[in-house]
């Protein structure tokens, strides 16, 4: 950005292209608390009726709170698994003399780029065999596994930036490799761990296909499947209700995004799927 060119043409150009996107998101929020006359785009009354799903269970659906709880459980446990497994494996690959290290590294790298959805049929059948179909734990394990290569990759990259001398100093001070990792190195990569944690949580919170295929049952339903089923139900078309559920669903995401925008941008820019 330099002072020699006018900036307003750029802002104008991008502004025009961005209008539809802004409109969609603005109306998402506006429509949940207002009504407008048919055919009109301007709201004419404020109402709370679209939020009725919070206190009354919609016919044929699980309670929104069950779904919320399931989603939270799903996202949190997935995140915990991803964090613990990738922070250990990432360290081993970055710093330790593991046998077949090059092979593992290549493996992680390939898997990191590998499109996981293509495996879903086999995974579906595996869960059937294991008797974990329609359970939260099954879909959690699957989601965590599929996120792992990315997590390990990111963590390995962050461990690589920790100066070797810190580890050497730790060893000279008499600490075992495990202590060095856990007391000296892990604290250095805390920012990475929190970024990966937020990322995994959001990924879990938003996940749709896996729960849809692997745990569609009402008892274990997550919000994404809940909302999709609501929208797909042709008998009860109510856009304002869909949007209200949608806002309820997206709110934690937006909050996390606003708070951790910088960290998320660094990790989204770091070569994620998409």
């Amino acid at each position: 950005m330099t002072g020699n060119y006018k900036t307003w043409p750029m802002i104008l150009l991008l502004g025009i292209i961005t209008v539809p996107l802004v409109l969609m998101y603005v109306y998402l929020f506006v429509d949940t608390v207002t009504n407008s006359a048919p055919g009109s785009l301007v709201p004419n009354e404020i109402t709370g009726e679209h939020w009725r799903f919070l206190w009354q269970t919609l016919p044929g659906r699980p309670s929104i709170w069950t779904a919320t709880f399931n989603t939270f459980l799903f996202a949190t446990v997935t995140t915990l698994i991803v964090l613990s497994v990738s922070s250990t494996a990432g360290y081993a690959l970055s710093r330790l003399n593991v046998p077949f290290r090059a092979f593992f590294l290549a493996g992680v790298m390939v898997l990191h780029a590998f499109p996981t959805v293509t495996l879903i049929i086999a995974i579906f059948l595996i869960l059937q065999f294991l008797g974990m179909y329609n359970t939260l734990i099954g879909v959690i394990l699957v989601k965590a596994s599929l996120e792992l290569p990315f997590g390990i990759w990111i963590m390995k990259g962050f461990y690589d930036t920790v100066p070797w001398e810190i580890e050497m100093a730790g060893i000279q001070d008499g600490a075992s490799r495990f202590t060095v990792w856990h007391k000296l190195v892990l604290p250095q990569v805390m920012p990475a761990i929190s970024a990966l944690g937020i990322f995994s949580f959001l990924a879990g919170w938003s996940e749709f296909i896996l729960p849809l295929v692997l745990a569609p049952d009402n008892k274990v339903q997550v919000l994404s499947v809940y909302l999709a089923a609501l929208i797909a139900d042709d008998n009860n078309f109510d856009m304002a209700l869909f949007k209200s559920v949608g806002v309820f669903y997206v709110l934690p995401v937006i909050v996390l995004f606003l708070f951790f925008q910088k960290r998320l941008m660094s990790i989204y820019g770091g070569g994620t799927k998409g």
Partner: protein
């Protein structure tokens, strides 16, 4: 001390277990399942043997055993030991039993009337017709709709019917009546033969190339260059807005587009002011459906390129920009000669990476059009999903679906190996500096 080695393995073990269970095993199993005809009908564990109308039809058509099929389809009356014991247990006259065993034992009758007339010729025949009827019913034998746990059990039952089978017929019958899954290469011949496949392939290419070219690289470039020429604040706001589609859960994000496109939605309402009749823009015709599919995916895809290109532009030394401005370069020349050359590698990276993920993603299409209208937007990955896992269709064809998925898996493996080549793998595997 080999502390580092064993600690390393220990720290890696959980990751290895997860990867084996949910990456390696699925890849292998996809290949295995692709060679079966597994479906909801066959189940995923073993099957049973059952003579049904359809298996008899199969026996006649696929195995050329029309005669056998007809024989089996008929209801038969066979006097055998089993039946004789049954009537004895029911309290039939011992003389009658003995006489039947002697005179009719082993004989089969096509109709009950035939058996009844045969019994009537006996000396110790039952007096009244009702008893006669009950008696002959006991000898009623048919295996239609009966389930057998093994082929042997079924063949024994067939023999009991009084139908003698040749070895050929036995194996044909066993094959035709097996309800479980079997090994087959038919999935692949079917994939190649179906005109549908070609259509899907074309759709997939349209989808990947249009999205990739227009948004994931093209528009991402526009975004990153435009924000580069802006003050920090508006640039940050634009980047945050364009990141929204990516962080929004797909279900919600597609809902927003539906609101925009549906016949009571924003677009219809808005265009009504200009006399355009309201309609569902998302599904009314293939062209519009495609436009929306590309937009929906593109708005999500643009943000990754935007972030990567932006940081690449940020890495260009400021002095380069200043120098070129002093030299009197126009903005367009600056973009052309300074920015774009620096973005060659990032663009290659984005293209490689996102073509792979676009090729295999179907989430947004599933949510938006489900492949419609009339399969116009059905891409390979979506077809795979719909074949094997969509519940409306009734019969889920796991085998055929796995064969379709296998194509993607192979493409995925090849492309991600290529991805490995693009990267500087040597520096990645530099040996650890602490040698314990």
């Amino acid at each position: 001390m080999n502390g580092s080695k064993s600690l390393g393995l220990m720290l890696l073990t959980p990751a290895i277990v997860f990867v084996l269970l949910f990456f390696v095993a699925p890849v292998i199993l996809t290949a295995v399942f692709a060679l079966t005809n597994m479906s909801t009908a066959t189940g995923i564990t073993g099957g049973a043997y059952q003579v049904t109308q359809s298996s008899l039809r199969k026996l006649a058509e696929s195995y050329g055993q029309a005669e056998l099929a007809n024989t089996l389809a008929e209801t038969r009356y066979t006097v055998n030991e089993e039946g004789l014991e049954a009537i004895a247990a029911d309290g039939a006259d011992a003389r009658l039993v003995a006489e039947m065993r002697a005179k009719l034992g082993g004989r089969s009758f096509e109709k009950r009337r035939d058996l009844e007339s045969a019994i009537k010729t006996l000396n110790s025949r039952p007096r009244n017709t009702r008893a006669l009827k009950a008696l002959s019913d006991t000898f009623h034998r048919s295996i239609v709709n009966e389930r057998f746990e093994s082929a042997d059990a079924m063949l024994r039952a067939t023999t009991n019917l009084g139908v003698a089978l040749s070895a050929d017929q036995k194996s044909a019958l066993a094959d035709a009546t097996y309800t479980g899954w079997v090994w087959t290469t038919q999935n692949f011949t079917r994939m190649i033969a179906l005109p549908d496949t070609q259509r899907t392939l074309i759709n997939t290419f349209i989808y990947v190339f249009a999205t990739l070219a227009i948004f994931n690289t093209g528009f991402a470039l526009v975004l990153s260059i435009a924000t580069h020429y802006m003050p920090a604040r508006p640039a940050g706001i634009f980047r945050a807005i364009w990141l929204l589609p990516r962080i929004s859960p797909p279900v919600l994000y597609v809902l927003l587009w539906k609101w925009l496109a549906w016949d009571t939605g924003f677009l219809s309402n808005f265009l009504a002011n200009f006399g355009v009749a309201p309609r569902n823009w998302l599904l009314d015709n293939p062209t519009n459906a495609w436009i929306f599919i590309v937009l929906i995916n593109g708005f999500v895809g643009a943000s990754m390129g935007m972030l990567i290109f932006s940081s690449a532009i940020k890495a260009i030394p400021g002095s380069l920009f200043h120098a070129s401005e002093v030299d009197g370069a126009s903005r367009w020349q600056q973009i052309r000669y300074i920015i774009l050359p620096q973005l060659r590698w990032p663009i290659l990276f984005i293209t490689c990476y996102q073509s792979l993920s676009l090729l295999t993603s179907f989430e947004y299409i599933l949510l938006a059009t489900e492949g419609g209208p009339g399969g116009a937007t059905e891409v390979w990955a979506l077809k795979t999903y719909l074949t094997a896992l969509n519940n409306y269709a009734g019969n889920l064809e796991y085998g055929y679906g796995a064969a379709l998925a296998l194509v993607l898996v192979v493409v995925g493996v090849v492309l991600s190996l290529a991805y490995l080549k693009v990267f500087d793998f040597k520096t990645m595997v530099r040996p650890p500096r602490i040698e314990q």
